[in-house]
């Protein structure tokens, strides 16, 4: 799901940076206001965890490989604004140091995996949880569903960004300049391999960690400082 350099054209690159810069600034402010000091070790661990979990490439039938992101559990436990910062740090490091994801695509990759993912996970978890107890099984299931849905959405958005490139950028002879496959190929390719594969992995990872936190220290699941508007 890490879009490399050369796959997105200038319109998408500029648009995603223009969207991400204010999101990063605002997330940092929210984090500064709401982070509790006892959450600091958790925040540090979350970015490291996201970095490492993305290194576990898993094959699926059809010859494709992919990985979980950890974005859902981070969004649920630390809240989506903290997750934006945490996962972005992991993604920026992957791009700069390891060439995993392009540097021009950092904003696009952060939008998909560090914004769309934790936010969708957070709201799916909230909705499915309803008023249930923090330690209830319903919340564990809510976390699993949040993992599944959020990675699928991130994959779909990645497929969408890929797929619009041939529409936006062609040379005089009609050849695509960047990602050559359009929406008809990129969107189903990204969605299908996640719906039938990697999103289950994210669901399992999310549920396992969530169940552990429920058992070990459910107080971590009550959210950050109430923000003073």
């Amino acid at each position: 799901m890490h879009i490399p350099d050369g796959y997105l054209g200038p319109y998408t690159i500029v648009a995603t940076w223009l969207i991400m810069i204010p999101i990063w600034v605002y997330s940092a402010r929210r984090l500064g206001r709401e982070l509790r000091s006892r959450q600091v070790p958790l925040l540090a661990l979350s970015a490291a965890f996201s970095f490492v979990i993305m290194m576990f490439n898993v094959p699926i039938p059809g010859g494709s490989t992919g990985h979980a992101v950890g974005g859902a559990i981070i969004g649920i436990v630390l809240g989506p604004w903290a997750a934006v910062i945490s996962i972005s740090v992991a993604l920026v490091l992957q791009a700069l140091m390891f060439g995993d994801g392009g540097i021009t695509a950092i904003a696009a990759n952060c939008f998909n995996m560090a914004v769309l993912m934790p936010f969708s996970a957070y709201y799916v978890y909230k909705i499915v949880s309803g008023n249930s107890e923090v330690t209830s099984g319903r919340r564990t299931i809510a976390a699993a569903i949040a993992g599944y849905v959020s990675l699928t959405l991130a994959a779909a958005m990645t497929g969408f960004m890929f797929g619009i490139q041939p529409l936006l950028h062609k040379d005089a002879a009609g050849y695509p300049l960047y990602m050559p496959y359009g929406l008809n190929v990129a969107l189903p390719a990204m969605i299908i391999e996640h719906v039938f594969g990697f999103s289950f992995l994210e669901a399992i990872v999310t549920a396992l960690i969530f169940a552990y936190v429920q058992k070990a220290d459910p107080s971590l699941l009550s959210h950050g400082r109430p923000s003073r508007a």
């Binding site: 879009i3 050369g6 054209g9 509790r36 600091v40 576990f56 992919g66 300049l177 390719a189 400082r225």
Partner: protein
Amino acid sequence: MDKTIKKMIAALAVLTVLVPLGLLATGETFGEWGAEEVREKLGYVPRGIESLGSIWSAPIPDYSFPGAETFAESALAYIASAIIGVVICAGLLYMIGKKLTAGRSD
């Protein structure tokens, strides 16, 4: 440091050592092909992929070191990359978090 965090650190350490399992998966990832793979698929390389594709030279490309050829060598490089990632990610956010919460008692 409380017990839950200690256990999470231990779990993360175990994951870090186990990362070479992620190398066992062979196959391509949609949209993450190199220029040569694109050429094989299409018969040409789109100009943007050709020109922008190598805009950045990462110090440790693909989590591997030059000369790492056997599985054991690649696995070691992969673990070393994971350690670098963990230390930088955790260290950076720990410092940021400490700074942001300075003076808070909760």
